[in-house]
């Protein structure tokens, strides 16, 4: 294939969209291990390497644990580094996830959201990414293949910003996005190169004039202070993510914020959801609006760091909120999205009534009608005036 100087519309699935973003970003190092449904992305990128379209050192490894370990080494040595994984692969990276974030290494990783075993299931839910939510990575969710491409490019700028220097996960829903071909608008190669800019290494291990140590023993004397600085570092990322989203909008015409509010301005009821279901939810909102219902959608693009203030502003004026969680917290009080949103709204007075729905586990399909049911339920809850059942299911067979 040819180098693409001009902008072009292509039919790409989410994996290919991510691979094209990686091609245009042209990272120094990619270490990755293929896993369904992410395999297609790594294979395509390997083709770009073999065709000489990138300068990347492509490291094949024997496991995901090694993939992220290699990425950590390469990033600490001063390179721009990317990888991709899914599900069990992300789970196998678990201890290295924390190390990458603690060392403040700006690695960008594409995660195809897939259920965790057991039983074995290759289809979409958010258990993998939500299991990594506390690891210190920035997490951006994508609604469609276009957003996968756009988020990958922005992720590099966000991760490498001197005010951030943290790893970023860009997620997409397994099969629903990763294997569905959609129309995607690509920027020109040069435009992407200019947008991400040259890599600025910080505390490179290979800078022999300024020797540094990564990951030493850090006990009760300083570990706590280092964690405090890490807590503040990720909290301080929110304005940078917004800034990059605006700048990307000026370039591409596609503007990104931390959240997307859809017909929420005068709404009384809203659903809150992440990923590909947001598009389906927009259809549900439109249908209900046609029937005179005052409903809207809050789409969370940035889940980590959690944009608390923005979420409070968006949801506080509502009468009722239905949160849709595509992963569960076994033994907990609701899914991870519900728990956090309900907590954020605790200080608001008056505050909306909130319910949670588990949905879509292991790739169970979700339809416009399911989301209409969620809206009907929250409307009932508000009519009664209190929440009888905090957590329920959508699309589950009884």
């Amino acid at each position: 294939m040819k180098v693409m100087q001009e902008r072009v519309s292509m039919g790409l699935n989410g994996n290919a969209a991510a691979a094209h973003a990686m091609r245009q970003i042209n990272p120094h190092v990619v270490a990755a291990y293929p896993i369904t449904p992410q395999t297609d992305c790594v294979e395509r990128f390997a083709e770009f390497v073999s065709e000489g379209l990138v300068d990347t050192e492509f490291v094949t490894v024997e496991s995901e644990h090694s993939a992220l370990s290699a990425c950590i080494g390469a990033a600490a040595s001063g390179g721009r580094v990317m990888t991709a994984t899914s599900s069990q692969g992300l789970a196998l990276m678990w201890e290295m996830l924390y190390i990458a974030a603690s060392m403040r290494l700006p690695i960008v990783m594409m995660v195809v959201n897939r259920a965790l075993s057991g039983n074995i299931n290759i289809h979409c839910d958010h258990s993998d990414t939500m299991g990594a939510r506390d690891a210190g990575w920035i997490q951006l969710f994508s609604e469609n293949a276009q957003e996968v491409y756009d988020n990958m490019i922005q992720a590099v700028r966000i991760a490498e910003d001197m005010r951030v220097r943290l790893p970023v996960m860009v997620t997409q829903d397994g099969f629903i996005i990763s294997h569905a071909v959609e129309r995607v608008e690509l920027l020109g190669d040069e435009e992407v190169k200019t947008f991400v800019g040259p890599y600025k290494a910080l505390y490179s291990l290979l800078d022999l004039q300024h020797p540094v140590t990564y990951g030493p023993l850090d006990l009760f004397d300083y570990y706590f202070e280092h964690k405090r600085s890490q807590i503040e570092a990720i909290d301080n990322c929110l304005p940078v993510i917004e800034e990059v989203g605006k700048e990307f909008g000026k370039l591409s015409g596609r503007f990104y914020g931390l959240l997307e509010e859809y017909r929420l301005a005068d709404a009384e009821y809203a659903v809150v959801v992440l990923g590909s279901t947001c598009g389906t939810a927009k259809e549900a909102v439109d249908r209900l609006r046609d029937r005179g219902k005052k409903v809207g959608l809050l789409k969370i693009r940035c889940f980590r760091p959690f944009p608390k203030e923005q979420i409070i502003r968006a949801l506080a004026p509502l009468k009722g909120v239905a949160v849709l969680d595509r992963s569960v917290t076994f033994g907990g009080f609701g899914g991870p999205v519900f728990t956090e949103i309900r907590s954020a709204l605790y200080d608001v007075s008056p505050r909306p009534l909130i319910i949670d729905f588990y949905y879509g586990l292991g790739g169970r399909d979700i339809y416009v009608e399911d989301i209409e049911k969620a809206f009907a339920r929250i409307e009932d809850v508000v009519r009664v005036g209190w929440v009888d059942k905090h957590i329920d299911y959508l699309g589950l067979r009884e």
């Binding site: 519309s9 292509m10 039919g11 294997h179 129309r183 598009g279 416009v368």
Partner: protein, 190 residues
């Protein structure tokens, strides 16, 4: 927003229905349309019934659910008729496009399908005569093209050329295109 047009493909593992849905997507891209092309992933085996889907629209497509009420079903393998319910959820006035060695009336009788439209073409015969073996996914696109005004034959031909141009010998690509053209011309609609 207007509902996208939805297409469901029925074939057997190995017949290239996923590829056909992707070629259609590429043809729609050439027409400036918005589209989706996605397979139904399950335990795939050679010869087992498989499905793939397309959505077609003039505006960006937001919905990401499975297709349950398609306007068009495309049956790539005639042995599926009677073996799986190819009419399941088909929209009122929907269209059936089939690789079928008979007339539209004969297919209607077999399926007990009186509404909508039927387009039939003997894609197996066409490919056997031109290519010397049965390759049904490219010719059936010709018949589909006859009942899908959103895409012109030229765009489908270009998309097939783009799909196979680097993988197959030029002569084989030309024969595939010839199959497609002949299926477009010979498709009977009734």
């Amino acid at each position: 927003m207007e509902k996208p047009l939805e297409i469901r493909w029925h074939g057997r593992g190995g017949q290239g229905v996923v590829t056909a849905s992707r070629i259609l997507a590429d043809a729609l891209l050439r027409e400036g349309k918005y589209f989706q092309a996605f397979p139904e992933y399950g335990p795939e085996r050679m010869g087992a019934p498989v499905k793939a889907y397309n959505r077609v629209s003039d505006a960006p497509i937001r919905i990401h659910s499975g297709v349950t009420n398609p306007e068009i079903v495309v049956v790539v393998d005639p042995t599926l008729i009677g073996a799986v319910d190819v009419l399941e959820g088909l929209a009122e006035n929907g269209t059936v496009v089939a690789n079928f060695p008979g007339t539209p009336k004969e297919l209607r009788d077999l399926l007990h399908f009186s509404g909508g439209r039927v387009a039939v073409v003997d894609a197996s015969l066409i490919s056997r005569e031109i290519l010397g073996r049965v390759v049904v996914n490219t010719p059936i696109l010709g018949a589909l093209c006859r009942v899908l005004p959103q895409v012109r034959l030229e765009s489908v031909l270009e998309a097939v050329r783009a799909q196979f141009g680097e993988k197959l010998r030029a002569e084989v690509v030309e024969k595939n295109l010839a199959c497609l053209r002949r299926a477009y011309e010979e498709a009977q609609i009734g």
